[in-house]
C-alpha cells in the first residue's frame, strides 16, 4: 500500500492541474492571450471559501459562489484590460502579470499574508480492504473528472464549441459568417476563469490557502501545456499527467526541490526534442 497512496495523491494533483491548464489553454488557444493572473483567480476561488466559512455559509453555497464571483471578476478583467490588448499578445503577458501582482497584494491587504485553513465538509474516510482515503478528496477527484469531461464536451460537442473552434481556426472567416468573435472571446475567458475559481474552491480544504499559492499552480499549468502541446485539448491531459505525475511522485520519493528540478528538466528536454509537445499538433 506504500505505492497506492502516492499514486492516488498524484492523480488528484494531476486532475486539478488539468483543470487549471484547461482554463489557461482555452484562453490561449482562442485569443492568444497568456493569462499570468490565472493562478490568482484560482487563489481567489479558494478565498471565496474562506469568506463563506467565516460567514457561516454552507460549503455547497461556497462552491456555487466561487465560480460565479471569479467568473464575474473574469468578465471585468476582459472588459477593462484584455479587450484593449487582444492584438498585442506579448503585452497581455505583462498586463496580466501586473494584474496578478495587484490581486495578490489585494488579498494580502484584506486577509493578511498568513495562510488560512478551510475545514473539510466531510471527514469520513473511504475504506477498501486495508486502504483508506479521505472521502472529500475522492469527491474532489470525481468533481474534477466531471468538470474536465464537461469542458471537453462543451468545446467538442456543442454549438458553442463549434463556434469556438471555428474562431480558433479562422477568426476572420468565422466573423464573415456572422459569428461574433469578440463575444465568444469574452465568454471563453469567463469560462476559463470560472473554471479556475471553482478549482480553487474545490481544493481549498485540502491545501493551505495563502496569497502566494497561485504561482505554484500557474507554472506547472503552463509547463503542462508546453509539454502536452498547445494544439488539441487532449494535449493538456497528456501534459498535465506528465508534469503533475512527475512532480507529485518525486516530491514524495525524493524531495520537493528535486521534483521541481526534474519536472523542469523534463519540460526543457521536451522543448528541445519535441517542440510541438508530446502529442504534436498546431500551436
Amino acid at each position: 500500500m506504500d505505492l497506492l497512496l502516492p499514486l492516488i495523491d498524484a492523480l488528484s494533483y494531476i486532475l486539478i492541474l488539468v483543470l487549471i491548464a484547461l482554463g489557461l489553454m482555452i484562453v490561449f488557444g482562442m485569443m492568444g492571450v497568456i493569462n499570468m493572473a490565472h493562478g490568482e483567480l484560482f487563489m481567489i476561488g479558494a478565498y471565496v471559501m474562506v469568506v463563506c466559512q467565516s460567514a457561516g455559509l454552507p460549503f455547497l453555497v461556497g462552491l456555487l459562489l466561487a465560480p460565479l464571483i471569479v467568473g464575474l471578476l473574469g468578465l471585468l478583467i476582459e472588459m477593462l484590460l484584455i479587450r484593449h490588448i487582444y492584438l498585442r499578445p506579448l503585452d497581455t503577458i505583462l498586463a496580466t502579470w501586473g494584474l496578478s501582482i495587484a490581486l495578490k497584494q489585494g488579498i494580502v491587504l484584506i486577509f493578511g499574508p498568513e495562510s488560512q485553513s478551510i475545514a473539510s465538509p466531510i471527514n469520513e474516510m473511504i475504506t477498501i480492504g486495508d486502504f483508506s482515503y479521505p472521502l472529500y478528496r475522492t469527491l474532489v477527484m470525481l468533481a474534477a473528472i466531471l468538470l474536465i469531461g464537461g469542458t471537453f464536451w462543451l468545446f467538442l460537442k456543442t454549438d458553442f464549441g463549434l463556434q469556438a473552434r471555428a474562431v480558433i481556426a479562422r477568426p476572420d472567416t468565422a466573423a464573415t459568417l456572422g459569428i461574433n468573435t469578440r463575444q465568444l472571446y469574452r465568454s471563453s475567458f469567463v469560462i476559463g476563469t470560472a473554471l479556475a475559481g471553482l478549482a480553487g474552491a474545490l481544493v481549498a480544504p485540502t491545501i493551505s490557502v495563502d496569497p502566494q499559492m497561485g504561482l505554484g499552480y500557474l507554472i506547472p499549468g503552463f509547463l503542462s501545456i508546453l509539454v502536452g502541446g498547445a494544439g488539441p485539448l487532449a494535449g493538456v491531459l497528456v501534459g498535465g499527467s506528465a508534469v503533475g505525475g512527475a512532480n507529485s511522485l518525486l516530491t514524495v520519493w525524493i524531495s520537493p526541490v528535486a521534483a521541481q528540478i526534474a519536472v523542469f528538466i523534463m519540460a526543457i528536454l521536451v522543448i528541445r526534442l519535441r517542440p510541438e509537445g508530446i502529442l504534436g499538433g498546431r500551436k
Binding site: 463549434l162 463556434q163 473552434r165 471555428a166 481556426a169 472567416t173 464573415t176 459568417l177 456572422g178 459569428i179
Partner: protein, 233 residues
C-alpha cells in the same frame, strides 16, 4: 443593391483602393475584373469589414455598413466566399454548414434540402472532413456555407482560382441558376473570362484600385476590346 461610394482603404499607409465607386444592381450578377494586384481582394475585404475603411460609404439597400463589424455586416445580408475558400478543414461538411447557420440563425437550416438539391455532392459527403475535399468541392462548400446565411448579396472572391475548368463551368452554371431562381444579387471578383461570360450581366473593371469602366456583358465591344485593355489578354 450594394453601392460602394468613393471607398478608400488599404494596409497601413498603403492605399490599395482609392476613391472607388461601383454598384451591384439587385437581382443581377456583376463581375469585377482586373489583373492581379489591382485591389480586387482588398476591395471585398473592405466591404466585409476585414480591413478598415479610410473613407467612403458602403450601402446595402441604402443602409450604411461601413461602421459595422464583419459579423454584423454578415447579418445585414452580406454573404462572403473568400479567396482560397477558407473552409474549416477539421470540420465535417455538416459542421461547416451548421456553423454558418449558427452565425445567422438556426432557422436557416431549413434551407439544407434546397442546398443539397443544388449541390448533391454535399449531401453524399455530409460526414466527411472538409480538409479531404478537392479544391472544387471545397469551393462548392464555401458557396453553400455563404448561401445558408441567406444573404441579400453574395460576394465571390476568385472562385475559379486553382480549380479544374470543367468544374469551373459546373459551378458557374449552378450559380447562374441559383441567381435566376432566387433573385440573388452577386458581386463576382474574377479573372477567368469563361466564368464571367457564363454568368455575368454587368462587368466592371478595376485598375490600380480605381474603378475604370462598367458595361453590360453584351457591350464588351468588338473582339472583347475592354477585356484586352484591362486584363492584357
Amino acid at each position: 443593391m450594394l453601392e460602394l461610394d468613393s471607398i478608400t482603404s488599404g494596409y497601413g499607409d498603403a492605399r490599395v483602393i482609392q476613391d472607388f465607386s461601383c454598384t451591384a444592381e439587385a437581382g443581377r450578377i456583376t463581375a469585377l475584373m482586373g489583373r492581379n494586384g489591382m485591389g480586387k481582394t482588398t476591395l471585398l475585404k473592405t466591404v466585409m469589414g476585414l480591413l478598415p475603411i479610410t473613407s467612403g460609404q458602403i450601402l446595402l439597400d441604402s443602409a450604411p455598413l461601413e461602421r459595422l463589424n464583419p459579423h454584423e455586416r454578415s447579418r445585414q445580408g452580406l454573404g462572403y466566399v473568400p479567396q482560397g475558400r477558407e473552409v474549416f478543414e477539421n470540420f465535417t461538411v455538416a459542421e461547416n454548414l451548421r456553423l454558418a447557420a449558427l452565425g445567422s440563425s438556426l432557422d436557416h437550416l431549413d434551407m439544407l434540402p434546397q442546398i443539397y438539391d443544388w449541390f448533391p455532392i454535399l449531401k453524399e459527403r455530409l460526414d466527411q472532413k472538409a480538409g479531404t475535399f478537392s479544391g472544387g468541392q471545397q469551393q462548392i462548400l464555401a458557396i453553400a456555407r455563404a448561401l445558408i446565411t441567406r444573404p441579400k448579396i453574395l460576394l465571390l472572391d476568385e472562385p475559379t482560382e486553382g480549380i479544374q475548368p470543367s468544374i469551373v463551368r459546373d459551378i458557374s452554371l449552378q450559380l447562374s441558376r441559383i441567381a435566376k431562381e432566387t433573385g440573388l444579387t452577386i458581386l463576382l471578383v474574377e479573372q477567368n473570362v469563361d466564368m464571367v461570360k457564363t454568368m455575368a450581366d454587368d462587368i466592371a473593371f478595376i485598375e490600380n484600385g480605381k474603378m475604370m469602366e462598367k458595361c453590360l456583358l453584351e457591350d464588351l465591344g468588338p473582339d472583347d476590346a475592354l477585356l484586352h485593355r484591362y486584363l492584357s489578354i
